[in-house]
């Protein structure tokens, strides 16, 4: 079930990625639509983050090519933004919230130029969009997990891109932040921006995404969420694990086993 779209925002052609000669992504061939919220879903170790990193040129591709806006990444870098997993950085780093958000402007500034007043205003406006304006001068070491994620999103917004890749933005955040992030994404897609999200929670997938990519080392499905999130395709993606869990669930309801043994 792989839908191809006309005039795609991202096109992957036969992407294979290997670590130490062992392929971790096999022959991924897909196209993604404009102005959509797109979820990349699959079990742990399915290569979701690797797929996003290979699109951003952060891991070496063994074969195939990636096109964005029908061009190579190098030509359209200023239109593309990347939000790494928040665990990938040291939050004890001596920097303020504004320092981090201003990093989103560096790509536009180039060497020799310091962030100007206009850049600081953009940064503050982006913080307002994630409801973090009161924390502008706070040190990043004092933030909670949800606030850290909001700061990363504000930094991405400061890039003023058209295409956003977010690696697990919902991991380890509070419910209010999750709500705020999804609302922000909906606003962004209304403005014609495309958001590609690595996600691991199946329950919220149907509600959050317009388009879903199911991945488990190879591409299982790519298409509109309601057509892709079917029990058959999910079972194919999650393989034995989901089947086993489904059987346990069925047994539990049938025999009324207590879900936890009494001590």
């Amino acid at each position: 079930m792989i839908h191809q779209v006309e005039n795609p925002v991202v096109e992957l052609h036969d992407i294979t990625v290997s670590y130490n000669r062992k392929p971790v992504l096999w022959d991924i061939d897909l196209t993604l639509p404009h102005a959509a919220i797109i979820g990349i879903i699959g079990p742990n170790g399915a290569g979701k983050s690797t797929l996003v990193k290979s699109m951003m040129g952060l891991v070496e591709i063994s074969s195939g090519y990636v096109k964005m806006f029908d061009q190579d990444l190098e030509q359209v870098r200023s239109r593309v933004s990347y939000v790494p997993q928040k665990e990938s950085v040291d939050w004890d780093f001596p920097a303020s919230v504004t320092d981090v958000v201003l990093m989103g402007r560096y790509g536009k500034l180039g060497l020799f130029t310091r962030p100007r007043k206009a850049d600081k205003e953009v940064a503050l406006e982006c913080l307002r969009q994630v409801d973090m304006q009161d924390y502008a001068n706070r040190q990043i070491s004092q933030l909670s997990g949800g606030q850290q994620q909001r700061v990363f999103l504000a930094r991405a917004l400061a890039q003023e891109a058209d295409l956003y890749f977010m690696d697990e933005p919902f991991a380890g955040v509070d419910a209010a932040t999750e709500r705020a992030i999804i609302n922000l994404m909906k606003t962004m897609s209304k403005q014609g921006k495309t958001v590609v999200v690595v996600h691991h929670d199946l329950q919220s997938a149907q509600e959050y995404f317009d388009w879903v990519v199911l991945l488990n080392l190879r591409l299982i499905a790519s298409g509109p969420a309601d057509q892709v999130l079917t029990p058959e395709l999910l079972q194919e993606t999650y393989g034995g694990k989901l089947t086993l869990l489904a059987e346990v669930g069925a047994l539990l309801t049938k025999k009324e086993f207590p879900s936890r043994e009494k001590g």
Partner: protein
């Protein structure tokens, strides 16, 4: 006047070392500074042979090349052989340093270098090691010129590359996604560390360069959560350490470079204790 030259030389070593050290400790690469400061030795000896004198430009060049080679080897062992970074550092710098020691001892007769000078340096000789031009004019201590140049180069490097160094240190993945070359800035920083180290080795010695690279930034890291302030405090600490270190050495009639390191360690110890007490107090108040 001697006191002035020695304190100035100490500060001119401590400040560039400290500023670069700020980046090293935040990149969790403090020991790479240690490795580079030792591994440049064969570069210095070879440069000495090629140029035939202790002429600073060729020595800085030789050391710079070895410094980059060291970084490259560490990366290579780490990525290709999947050796842990600290093991890769240990393997690389010990054999390069040993190679330098062998080169010195084999050619000891022809070389105006010795292990003691390389390891411990002698900052007390700064005022008598003068730069005398061909016409016989005395220009002042040679080390001041060398370190002054190193100081300016490092300062310019940090002023020009501030944004890029800051970003590649904090979040390399995001940096390369925005088109900033992480590898380029990594090697530029390592080049600057090699360059500073070799400029400094004559006056304070390889071992004490490590103290200046790591101790003032580590102290500043405990004192502030703002990166610009961290660099400023590091620079001020460099001045204080040079000043107090010199007078401690005069008072004890001992090694100046040693005294400077001891002062650096003492300041760190005091700040660390205050930091521990400071972070315990609110917790005790709540309990």
């Amino acid at each position: 006047m001697d006191a002035f030259w020695i304190i100035l030389a100490g500060s001119l070593v401590a400040i560039p070392c400290g500023l670069l050290g700020c980046y090293l400790i935040l990149r969790k690469m403090a020991m790479i500074g240690d490795a580079i400061s030792h591994a440049v030795l064969p570069g210095i000896v070879i440069a000495f042979f090629v140029s035939g004198s202790r002429e600073p430009v060729s020595m800085l060049l030789g050391a710079g090349i070895l410094g980059i080679l060291t970084t490259f080897l560490i990366e290579f062992f780490h990525t290709k052989a999947r050796l842990q970074t600290d093991a890769a550092i240990g393997v690389t710098f010990t054999w390069l340093f040993a190679l330098g020691v062998i080169l010195i001892s084999v050619f000891a007769g022809q070389v105006d270098l010795d292990q003691d000078c390389v390891l411990y340096g002698e900052i007390a000789y700064v005022p008598i090691d003068l730069w005398i031009t061909d016409s016989g004019r005395i220009m002042g201590p040679r080390v001041i010129y060398i370190m002054g140049m190193v100081f300016l180069v490092v300062l310019c490097f940090i002023l020009i590359g501030y944004k890029e160094l800051f970003l590649t240190t904090f979040d390399p993945a995001f940096a390369s996604a925005t088109g900033i070359s992480v590898a380029l800035w990594h090697y530029l920083l390592m080049g600057a560390v090699s360059f500073t180290t070799v400029g400094a080795f004559e006056s304070v010695g390889a071992i004490l360069v490590v103290a200046f690279l790591i101790v003032p930034p580590a102290t500043a890291y405990l004192l502030t959560e703002d990166f610009k302030k961290m660099m400023l405090i590091t620079a001020l600490l460099g001045l204080v350490i040079s000043f107090c270190g010199y007078y401690l050495a005069v008072w004890l009639d001992g090694s100046i470079a040693g005294a400077m390191s001891v002062v650096a360690g003492l300041i760190f110890g005091v700040v660390f204790l205050l930091h521990v007490v400071g972070s315990r107090l609110p917790a005790a108040g709540r309990a």
